[in-house]
């Protein structure tokens, strides 16, 4: 179920939804959305870093430039899933 009104656009800037808390876990992090009360698992420490720092980049593509090239497609897919569940939202 997609909660976000707009489709995921990697050329835009995104940020962690202010309603979402990240809890560090051995495998990465647990994301909890206080609005939808949904839990998601971020199953890679690298992805957690990326999500935490997303808001300081002008676009998702720019944020991904700092990620090892071989991991970019998988991370991009993960971010799309997080956008679909409203865990990350377009920057205002």
């Amino acid at each position: 179920m997609s909660l976000s009104a707009a489709p995921f656009e990697p050329d835009r800037g995104y940020r962690l939804n202010p309603d979402v808390a990240l809890r560090p876990e051995p495998f990465g992090a647990l994301a909890y959305h206080f609005g939808t009360r949904r839990l998601s698992l971020l199953k890679a420490p690298g992805l957690v870093e990326l999500v935490r720092g997303l808001g300081s980049h002008g676009s998702v593509s720019e944020a991904l430039a700092g990620v090892d090239e071989s991991r970019r497609p998988a991370f991009l897919q993960a971010l799309a899933a997080l956008a679909a569940s409203d865990m990350i939202v377009p920057q205002p």
Binding site: S40, L41, K43, R71, Q77
Partner: protein, 398 residues
């Protein structure tokens, strides 16, 4: 819950077997006091325990849960609303971003309370109902309890409380009512939640009469396979996965001490809400280090987080599907913890003799009708023998 994976990592279940930084599913029982005496009460509730946590101690635990980022607690009892400070604590928890999902029999859920709950974020309500008809419900939960629950359900619906839960423990008498429960939930804009009966607490006494038959286990599985996406189960039917087919939604593993635990009204921490027994007590929130110390450092939890072998089940081709079932169900029916579940759908749990463990923590009211059981409904009434502890707290202690 969704998993966002982006590279090969060990299966989710394996990650969870090693335990998390804090529980995901924390059950917190706020009092042993209860206005009902349900025949299958898994915490043997009835009387308040004089040693129950004070308001200040409850707040301290909430502060800890906030610091550990436990995002919500499943609050129960007893009947949690019997605590005079219930509403105050609920507001305090929500204010600390510890969401509250509380279970209630509805007795104190007035129209006014329902309106206030509907206006509060981070609160979910579950009304317990164990029969879709008065007859079936009241046989287990006591006379009048059906009407009380339905009145509370109507108050919540009228107040516009979206998505509150109607929570059903599946018994031999209500499995045929699954469709009726679903219709009832639809009628009030509620979500249906069904969970497995456990032989815990007073449930041990009525388990032989009330737990679903083998045919009914298959019926539950088929019904969940057809309707599962709209129904919550608390992940409690994973033992049915041995029937084959696509696994039921959920993590499908025993989360005890790994992602699940229980804090009881006196602050004792147990591995899971169905295992209120000394054998599964990990510590107490009043001890130095509090709840966090118990969760992180309890030797019991450390043991539960190591990989367990299948024991007698390891040669069974379905072991990877059912994972041996429920630890508490085995323990309280006197079966080995590394053997089959008493409700093993392949029949491996049947006819295994075993002594039931003594019950260590009974808050039943002495005169509670449930002590002289029970649940007749078309079958001859059977009187459960009184426990040795009914006369002396030391009688029968080994």
């Amino acid at each position: 819950m969704t998993a966002v994976s982006c590279e090969p990592v060990p299966a989710l279940a394996l990650q969870f077997e090693r335990g998390l930084a804090a529980p995901i599913c924390l059950t917190w029982e706020w009092t042993y006091a209860c206005n009902l005496s349900c025949a299958h009460c898994l915490s043997s509730s009835g009387r308040r325990d004089p040693a129950e946590l004070s308001t200040a101690q409850m707040r301290a635990v909430i502060d800890e849960l906030h610091d550990m980022q436990v995002f919500y607690a499943n609050v129960g009892g007893g009947e949690p609303t019997m605590r005079p400070d219930f509403w105050e604590l609920l507001e305090y928890a929500v204010g600390r971003q510890v969401g509250v999902k509380f279970s209630t029999n509805g007795a104190r859920l007035t129209a006014e309370r329902a309106r206030r709950l509907a206006a509060t974020d981070y609160v979910d309500v579950q009304i317990s109902l164990d029969g879709a008809t008065r007859e079936v419900n009241d046989a287990v939960r006591g006379r009048g309890s059906y009407d009380v629950a339905l009145r509370a359900i109507a108050h919540l619906a009228e107040a516009g409380m979206a998505g509150f839960k109607i929570s059903v423990v599946m018994t031999r008498h209500n499995v045929p009512q699954l469709d009726q429960f679903a219709a009832l939930a639809d009628r009030f804009g509620a979500q249906l939640r069904i969970t497995r009966l456990r032989p815990s607490g007073r449930g041990a006494e009525v388990w032989p009469q009330l737990h679903p038959t083998a045919a009914q286990q298959r019926e539950i599985h088929a019904w969940l396979t057809a309707h599962g996406e709209h129904v919550l189960t608390g992940d409690s039917f994973f033992h049915l996965n041995a029937l084959g087919g696509p696994p039921l939604p959920g993590l499908n593993l025993c989360g005890a001490g790994r992602i699940v635990c229980l804090i009881d009204p006196v602050g004792d921490v147990y591995a899971c809400p169905f295992a209120i027994h000394d054998a599964f007590r990990a510590g107490n929130v009043r001890c130095p280090g509090g709840f966090a110390e118990v969760w992180r450092s309890s030797p019991l939890f450390a043991r539960l987080r190591t990989h367990t072998s299948g024991g007698a089940c390891s040669s069974c081709p379905q072991y990877s599907a059912c994972r041996g079932g429920c630890m508490a169900a085995k323990f309280f029916t006197g079966m080995p913890l590394d053997g089959p579940d008493p409700e093993c759908v392949l029949g491996h749990g049947a006819n295994r003799p075993g002594g039931r463990p003594s019950v260590g923590n009974d808050h039943s009211r002495p005169a509670a009708p449930a002590r002289r059981v029970v649940v007749t409904l078309g079958m001859p009434a059977v009187c459960a023998p009184a426990r040795p502890c009914d006369s002396s707290p030391l009688a029968g202690a080994s």
